[in-house]
Symmetry: C3
């Protein structure tokens, strides 16, 4: 059947599945994006809260606030970060590196500082990228007290000698860390987890594409007349957020999770990437590998699970949980030079790409939702299809239609063991066509859902 | 070891195994073929009975008659079809499409009809093949009442306007459907099923090659001094026949079947094809894949099991039975243009090819029959071969013979778990040589048959 | 990750592991080699005893003497062979084929004979190699009474007609067969078996390289401050020796053996070869396949287990034992023309190659010894690495070091199921670096050894 990861054309059945839901338009993204982008997010603080408030306009979200200092497994929830202002005044009196210009200028979670420093002293607190001289890097220091600024290498090279006035009016207060979740119920309690993080300041692809696309995926799923599975959406800061969430919902997920995905880097009009789960050929992996080749501009990139780096999947896939949570992205983190810099700006992404990403993730959910296991009501030999009007009565050399062939595949593998996805994989027939066939056969009473 | 499906040369051990049985000659096929070909077979009726009568001259057959209207699983045994005459008289008074010329002219299982119809009206009941204008297609309508004729596109194009007289003197009576079987006993109750269908009118490769070749395979097996396994041969109409047979013998087969094959399309002097069983690497599949590369003119074609179309294997491999029954053929159904037309005539096949097909199926049976599991009588270390005269006593740089090497393979894997076929697959040594070695080692008392 | 069998560069961690032990020098080999090479070894007799005496200077060895005539499984321990002198006197009175010139001249285990024979009669007792006319072949006749001489084809061609005097003063006496063993204890009772045979007369690569290299591997392992596993070294005649040893220690090995290797043909400065065990992907195989690509001049050669020929591995891997004992060699037996001839002499091997072979086998043992299974003390999510000083606190676009990445791999797969080797295989990170990381993590208390 050739390389199953190469781009594939959508069948009319898949197109129908996509159109069954209320699909947002690229301009809907723009509307929310423009309000979300400028917010000064960090792992704690009001930036994240405002972000969740805006997402709440698209989907219902319940807030979970965890007090600073709470123990979560081996970790402690950090203090809440308050930023009021931060800038530097040059010897000539010019105000530079002002966070009102770009919130990337201040090292994220920076300590407060106020004072006059020499050019040399200031330089110890500066971060730039010689290899990308026009980019302001994104730098964080959550777990060691530091202050600092980020700037382009070009600007840094031009800084003159003399005395600089540094103003960093920040505070680390006893507050709480913000997580939001919502559960979209289905006919079964088995759950699909969709999660994105909301702790990065003004960067478009990584990370804002993640929360925005998934919020619209929620809206699509919510618009469906019915869902077989239950869907859980979670927004939290990276790492400490998922660790805290697992301390609250880990046991529940161990019991109920069917599949899950960390969603990010969804704004480039490129190929898709799936980082597989630690369980390797989990349902999460199989659904993503089946649905994603219908989207993106070239071959689906598949990465075997690696814990060396990455995002929240490392926590979900830690040995004590080993939850089947993969990553869905387009060009994935670290594989494009603009990653974690000011170059990852609104011009870098495309709103059409965001909408296509929502299509793709919705299609993955569609596979999961339709991926039932069926069994024949009477499993011996083939049913007498003519009786049900399901087979042509004149035969000989007639070419059998794909729909009829798919039906025979379904009826043979409706054995209470093979799920619909495995029948699609094995037969090469379109998953959504097989789902359509399954509904026809259910109506005819010749198969039933395996309980 | 290279591609194991490419043509392989027969070893002297295989040649000896083939010669151990009474082999028919190509002319033996001709003798029976000429009497069987003209019979007007259908799923029910005297055509099939006469066919079985003639096969009974080669092998013993017990008749099973199932009354019309009997319920078999989801199906009903159809009425018996009686054909007396059928033809059309042209406006000029010429008698055409007479079944005395070719029984393909009448739609198989056609309703009776007698009357005068216009050229236009007649045309609604005609079947021809624009892409093969000189061929009469084979058309059937078992499960919807129709009448009709089949003719070449060339003839159809020449039919003039005017009134045609149609005579179809057929009848659907309460009678019975004919199945025949025979069981050739062996030392063990484990069975090999060999089946072919007998419901197609005058077509040579598909299907007449099937019943003829298998009948001679029966005669060969019956001529052997002993058989380890039991062999069951079944002849029945396609689909409804195997369904009915499974309703009678399904439970028995579930308990006793070791391997099985639907045999057809065995008359072309081409490559062989094995359509595998639903269990995928069943013993049926392994034996066929091992034996068939010694026969045919090029690479063995292997098809993974597909239920979308095909023949009786769909019933045997239905989820409730899941019996390891594959298909043995040369160029398989649907893969040659003459399939299901009048072009599949005696000139299309070769009697030498039929004889080679019998060799091939006999060789598959030979693998099954010799494929025992052995165990060492004393499994610790190698036996002291010199004591049994089974190893050269002078050593150093001497090249060890394949026979000695094969013996060491057999003695190492005679562990009560590996069957002889797996030892051949693993070692690359000839299966029939290993069987010869096994008998030598049995005689020496250093291995025994695993019970 | 490319072909894992191609030569790989040693990491500093592997180099450190090699240097941790007392490594002998190439000249140390020469010293022992020159004393061992001339000894007239056979399956029984004083040649083997003197060989074991000299090996005892490198390592402690306990002697096991098994009386002639003892039954061991299907075999009988042969009589002890005593050789006093053997030569031939030509018609011209010249003494040729004297074992004082080369002990290969006499057929090993030859019967005594004394008499005058014609050129024709003598020729029936001569062995030479037409394809290697300058080589004296090594010929044995343990299990059939014969006398004979081996010589070069060149010399044989020059033998003149006339009467020859043959003197073979040998005797087969009731004595015993010599095996030596030693056990180097470790923290666990699980054992690694290292064995070589000591029954071949003056040939350098096959077999003297085997006992010599393994003796020095013993000295290296003995010099380590601690060992997790227990190491068993065994020296015995080929075949009958390992069969006898298995009759004594087979049950113990079945309970305790973790991995084992027959070591031979280790003197050529070529690639390494691993003949795998019958269990296929046993720990023996995995450790050898991982460690050996760091040694030798080209791609590691891997042979699936074959029982058709070879050495003591056939006894260890016999069906009743099925012990995971593979073969470690460089160019393996039979794959070089000098094999089993007088051309396999001291000039044919290199003492540097012997030392590298000891490095390689020691590295295989190092993998086995360090290949523990770890589990996280608190397996939920990642540990808060900053708390243990194990992770950089400033992040963003910083390239993560391999050591840190390796640590995250270890912490994720420290699940009580994956051994360290499987983590190295899966991650592609250096095994010995991961071992170093494991010790750091053990010290930090975030993992523990799985009991």
């Amino acid at each position: 059947m050739g390389n199953p990861l190469l781009p594939r054309e959508k069948s009319p059945f898949l197109i129908q599945a996509l159109e069954e839901a209320d699909r947002e338009k690229p301009e809907d993204y723009k509307r929310y994006f423009d309000r979300l982008f400028p917010l000064f997010r960090s792992i704690t603080g009001d930036g994240a809260r405002k972000t969740h408030d805006i997402l709440s306009e698209i989907m219902p979200l319940q807030r979970i606030e965890t007090p600073s200092g709470s123990q979560v497994f081996d970790w402690t929830v950090p203090k809440e970060w308050v930023v009021r202002e931060a800038y530097v005044v040059t010897p000539k009196g010019e105000r530079i590196l002002d966070i009102r210009d770009s919130n990337l200028h201040l090292v994220n979670y920076s300590q407060p500082f106020r004072g006059k420093v020499s050019r040399e002293e200031l330089d110890k607190h500066l971060h730039s990228l010689p290899e990308l001289p026009a980019a302001v890097p994104y730098v964080i220091s959550y777990y060691a007290p530091r202050w600092g600024f980020c700037l382009t290498q070009n600007m840094r090279d031009r800084l003159e000698d003399g005395e600089y006035e540094v103003v960093i009016d920040t505070e680390h207060i006893d507050g709480s860390m913000t997580i939001s979740e919502t559960v979209l119920p289905g006919e079964e309690t088995k759950e699909v987890l969709i999660t994105a993080y909301t702790c990065h300041p003004s960067m478009a692809n990584h990370e804002l594409s993640g929360p925005l696309v998934t919020a619209f995926v929620h809206r699509r799923l919510a618009s469906l007349p019915k869902r077989r599975l239950t869907y859980r959406f979670v927004y939290a800061p990276e790492t400490i957020g998922s660790i805290t969430y697992l301390s609250l919902r880990g046991e529940h997920l161990l019991k109920n999770l069917a599949a899950g995905y960390v969603c990010n880097s969804l704004g480039m009009p490129t190929h898709f990437t799936c980082k597989k789960t630690r369980r390797e050929n989990s349902l999460s992996d199989r659904a993503a590998l089946h649905a994603l080749p219908f989207f993106g501009d070239k071959e689906l990139q598949v990465r075997e699970f690696f814990p060396s780096h990455g995002s929240d999947e490392r926590q979900y896939n830690s040995p004590g949980f080993n939850l089947p949570v993969g990553v869905l992205a387009r060009t994935i983190y670290g594989e494009y030079p603009e990653y974690h810099t000011s170059l990852d700006n609104p011009d870098f992404i495309s709103f059409e790409a965001l909408a296509e990403s929502a299509d793709a993730i919705f299609a993955v959910c569609s596979v999961l939702d339709k991926n039932a296991v069926y069994e024949r009501t009477m499993p011996y030999c083939e049913p007498f299809m003519t009786k049900y009007g399901l087979y042509p009565t004149l035969s000989g050399r007639r070419k059998i239609e794909d729909y009829s062939k798919g039906m025979m595949w379904l009826l043979n593998y409706a054995d209470g063991e093979h799920d619909l996805l495995s029948i699609a994989e094995r037969s090469g027939f379109d998953f959504w066509m097989l789902d359509d066939i399954a509904r026809v056969c259910l109506d005819a009473g010749i198969i039933r859902l395996k309980k």
